[in-house]
Symmetry: C2
DNA sequence: GTAGGTAGTGTTATGTAATAACATACTAGG
DNA sequence: CCTAGTATGTTATTACATAACACTACCTAC
């Protein structure tokens, strides 16, 4: 869990970016969370000593972390989740369990080319791809 | 363009649902729009005589139309677009052009099984899949 | 017909997500 | 020092979405 913070520090250093206090706090909270979090849940915890802070503080940190690939935004429900493949930029899908709400990250190198081809057939050139799913995770399936 | 309305009427009749005035107005506006629309743009036009109406009126109509597959919601930017393959329910992706903002709908029967398999390998059982893209459409590529 | 259920709408108010705009602080480079 | 670049703090506002309740239309059972 603290691995992620160390990786983030290293990644920032390499790319000459500052891993500042608000960025660290937001990433720490996300890394400690079992499930993806809403921005306003972060806002209510990301201040000094776990106090609330202001929306722009958190949104700026989230933008930064998303750009570095340390955090992913789940578009379906506007939540944010720490990435457990720190700094990767290969195509990946996020599957969220409807029961426990945990997110599973899955690589899909195989799929991107197919979608790109399907798009190109209509003359469309892809620059960004969002793949998200909903369903039931293994733990919840076994528990049922 | 009015085809869509007739198809919607038929679809509703078949499934015993009411194609009521607000639902019709929302679908008409979306069908007439070149690009996906924000909910509040609809709200400001969907009332009697093109006047504004109240949010719940429009959101309820949108929920209804989305469930029937007559409208799709684009999660990335919370916009809504009329479906030009009325009432289909096969897997499809929406690609939005960054330049002209038009949405292109693409079927991808090929891809869903791969993603399902990738998910199952992690024990995850998919019930819903969202595939969205961004990029440049053919027209804009040629114009550039 | 009339009571009760279902489906849909109208309306008010509120909750939730995100950003604009501007002021302030820190930190190199000349 | 001074200033350009980067980031944060703060206030206010905009944008997106739903809760809750009253009311109407319609259908069906008794
Ligand atoms: Zn990741
Ligand atoms: Zn689960
Ligand atoms: Zn469609
Ligand atoms: Zn275009």
């Amino acid at each position: 869990m603290h691995d992620l913070i160390r990786q983030a520090e290293a990644l920032c250093q390499r790319s000459g970016m500052a891993f500042t206090a608000p960025r660290r706090r937001v990433l720490e909270i996300l890394a400690a969370s079992e499930t993806p979090m809403k921005a306003y849940d972060l806002i209510s915890k990301a201040g000094e000593g776990g106090q609330a802070t202001k929306p722009p503080t958190v949104y700026r940190a989230l933008d930064f972390l998303c750009q570095l690939g340390l955090v992913h935004r789940i578009e379906q429900d506007a939540t944010f989740v720490a990435c457990n493949h720190a700094g990767h930029s290969h195509p990946m899908a996020l599957f969220v369990c409807n029961t426990c709400l945990k997110a599973t990250e899955v690589a899909y190198d195989e799929v991107a080319p197919i979608l790109e081809k399907a798009a190109e057939m209509q003359g469309f050139h892809l620059t960004r791809l969002v793949v998200e799913g909903r369903g039931q995770c293994q733990d919840c399936a076994l528990a049922a």
